[in-house]
């Protein structure tokens, strides 16, 4: 009977809509320190309910102030709050797209496409998570802290920056119950040797079941070395210049080691979160 039943079931699965293009009103768009700004958008609960840590939105930066960005700009989600209806992005002004974003005022609308991409995952047996990030990379990892807290996992956040003034989200991580370790160039604590000592200390204390990182080549190399040494897995969120953001154009590929082969994967579609051990430093 099961065989007959299976035959009359539709062969092809229904495709559900996963990403949405919509104009969202700006609630606020203010500097958080000398380098970074936080953009808060008013977003419908249905959209926020689909967001996951590590995913990104593709932003259609406005053509304003003499800037004419053409392609959308991918930006990782800094925070999503279905209860308050807010979607947060943390960004540094570096080019035409982010300069145009910085010019947005409250009440104006920003066209967003998302949520897109593969999110971070936290395996059931990963009880002690270690998050390692520098600069704006902390933005991408911030929602992971929220997820870790929701799942009742212990989290150590190692936050690195040029100067203590540029350390971001340390209060945010601490409020979520994370142990926060800060390392800065100004204090001479952010060098790879010291970072390795700090992480080895966590490994020795049994506080490192998995690593999460993004953005920095140096940190990737170090975490891969430590990961290989102790058999600790990890995930990395990567960036690449994008056009479509949904997998059509194949412009955002990066090389990865998979088995004994090197493969090219799309950062927008197979990523932006990848297996840390497969990632290739650039």
């Amino acid at each position: 009977m099961m065989g007959v039943r299976e035959k009359i079931m539709p062969v092809q699965q229904e495709i559900s809509f996963k990403a949405f293009e919509m104009g969202l009103a700006v609630k606020s768009n203010d500097p958080v320190n000398g380098e970074y700004r936080k953009l808060v958008l008013d977003a419908p609960a249905g959209l926020l309910a689909r967001c996951r840590a590590g995913q990104f939105f593709h932003l259609l930066c406005p053509q304003s102030g003499g800037e004419t960005p053409y392609l959308r700009r991918p930006m990782s989600i800094y925070g999503f709050y279905p209860q308050s209806g807010e979607l947060h992005f943390l960004y540094k002004v570096t080019g035409a797209g982010t300069r145009a974003l910085a010019a947005l005022s409250s009440g104006e609308r920003l066209n967003v496409l998302g949520p897109l991409g593969v999110p971070f995952t936290i395996a059931d047996h990963w009880q002690d998570l270690v998050l390692v990030a520098r600069g704006v990379g902390l933005a991408t990892l911030a929602p992971l802290a929220l997820e870790a807290q929701r799942l009742g996992r212990r989290l150590t956040a190692i936050c690195s920056a040029r100067h203590p003034d540029y350390l971001m989200s340390t209060g945010y991580f601490a409020d979520l119950g994370a142990d926060v370790i800060t390392l800065t160039d100004a204090e001479g604590t952010s060098d790879p040797d010291n970072l390795e000592r700090v992480i080895e200390g966590l490994v020795a204390a049994g506080r490192a079941d998995a690593f999460y990182t993004c953005g920095s080549n140096r940190m990737l190399r170090l975490l891969q070395t430590i990961g290989a040494r102790h058999g600790i897995p990890g995930q990395i969120a990567l960036e690449q210049q994008m056009a479509c953001g949904i997998g059509m154009c194949h412009c955002c590929v990066r090389p990865f080691n998979r088995g004994d082969k090197q493969v090219h994967l799309r950062v927008c579609r197979e990523g932006p979160v990848f297996d840390m051990m497969e990632a290739i430093a650039w």
Partner: protein, 314 residues
């Protein structure tokens, strides 16, 4: 009720809006209902596996973009196994875009993709022909005719020849494609371009040069679509810089029977849906019964052939 349907050499489309190859894939089904489109056009595939070009593969230039993706392809086997079956759930006709480095390889692939579920084959003859010093088949009328003859013999499905703007002989190439057996012309592919970062002095694309697409390409591709419609008796599918319904109307007036929307989908993934709705509303407002009442209605007077087919600046 406005009739949006058009006929491309016997293939009936419910509306004249379809994606341009390379700017469309199964992933778009996660954003809107692909059944709304006039046709589905897949990204160009090659017979064998291709890795594609080095990054950066795109850059933006004053309201348009350059790309040099390099036709990464998983090969014909994976395509027939994964991609063609995906589109079988739709009634919308599936158009498969193919490319080959030699006429032989091209013809073999053409026959291999002539399977159930494929309504037409778009032959991307704008790609480099390694037997002709890397010059694209569609740069010259003779190589266009030769490759089209081979492709014509390889399939019974409708053949759409995708032409390149990188030629000084648009009408001659269009006629050669028609004589070689093309059922329709897709006009056109991207135009070879370059951009350099003035600070690093490096080209902005990993492959040094790439194809321009987006609004800046439109006047060039529109001119070609007009010339091809005048030069041949087969349907022309306009392609190049279309992002609004007004762009579509302009192509239809110039003589295109249908259009392909490409780069605009990167900016607004739902651009094609907005265009279909906008076209219906515009035709109704104008009191036109359908798209067919618009095609080729350009008022170009009694122009001399030499003016119509001019390739150099006046």
């Amino acid at each position: 009720m406005v009739d949006l349907s058009v006929d491309i050499a016997g293939l009936k489309l419910k509306n004249p809006i379809m994606p341009a190859s390379g700017t469309f894939s199964e992933e778009l089904a996660e954003i809107f209902d692909l059944e709304r489109l006039g046709a589905h056009v897949t990204k160009t595939i090659t017979r064998g596996w291709r890795d594609g070009n080095p990054t950066p593969r795109v850059c933006e230039v004053g309201g348009s973009m350059l790309n040099s993706i390099g036709i990464p392809s998983k090969g014909v086997g994976a395509f027939l196994e994964k991609v063609v079956p995906f589109y079988r759930r739709y009634e919308t006709p599936l158009v498969v875009s193919i490319s080959g480095n030699t006429a032989d390889e091209f013809a073999t692939l053409c026959s291999e993709v002539s399977v159930e579920g494929v309504a037409a084959i778009e032959v991307n003859i704008s790609c480099p022909n390694i037997e002709e010093d890397g010059k694209a088949f569609a740069i010259r009328p003779s190589s266009t005719y030769d490759v089209m003859r081979r492709l014509r013999a390889a399939t019974d499905l409708p053949l759409w020849a995708k032409l390149t703007p990188n030629t000084g002989e648009t009408p001659e190439v269009a006629r050669a494609a028609e004589e070689g057996g093309a059922d329709a012309l897709v006009v056109a592919n991207t135009i070879l371009s370059m951009a350099i970062d003035i600070r690093s002095r490096r080209p902005k694309l990993g492959n040094l040069m790439g194809g321009l697409s987006g609004p800046s390409l439109k006047p060039i591709a529109l001119r070609m679509a007009y010339q091809c419609a005048r030069a041949t008796g087969i349907p022309v599918i306009g392609c190049g810089g279309i992002s609004t319904v007004e762009d579509v109307i302009e192509y239809l007036i110039a003589g295109a029977t249908a259009v392909q929307v490409g780069t605009a989908t990167f900016i607004h993934p739902t651009a094609m849906i907005a265009i279909i709705d906008g076209l219906e509303a515009w035709l109704a407002d104008e009191g036109l019964a359908g798209v067919r009442d618009l095609i080729g209605t350009v008022i170009d007077g009694e122009q001399d052939e030499a003016v119509v087919f001019m390739e150099a600046a006046p």
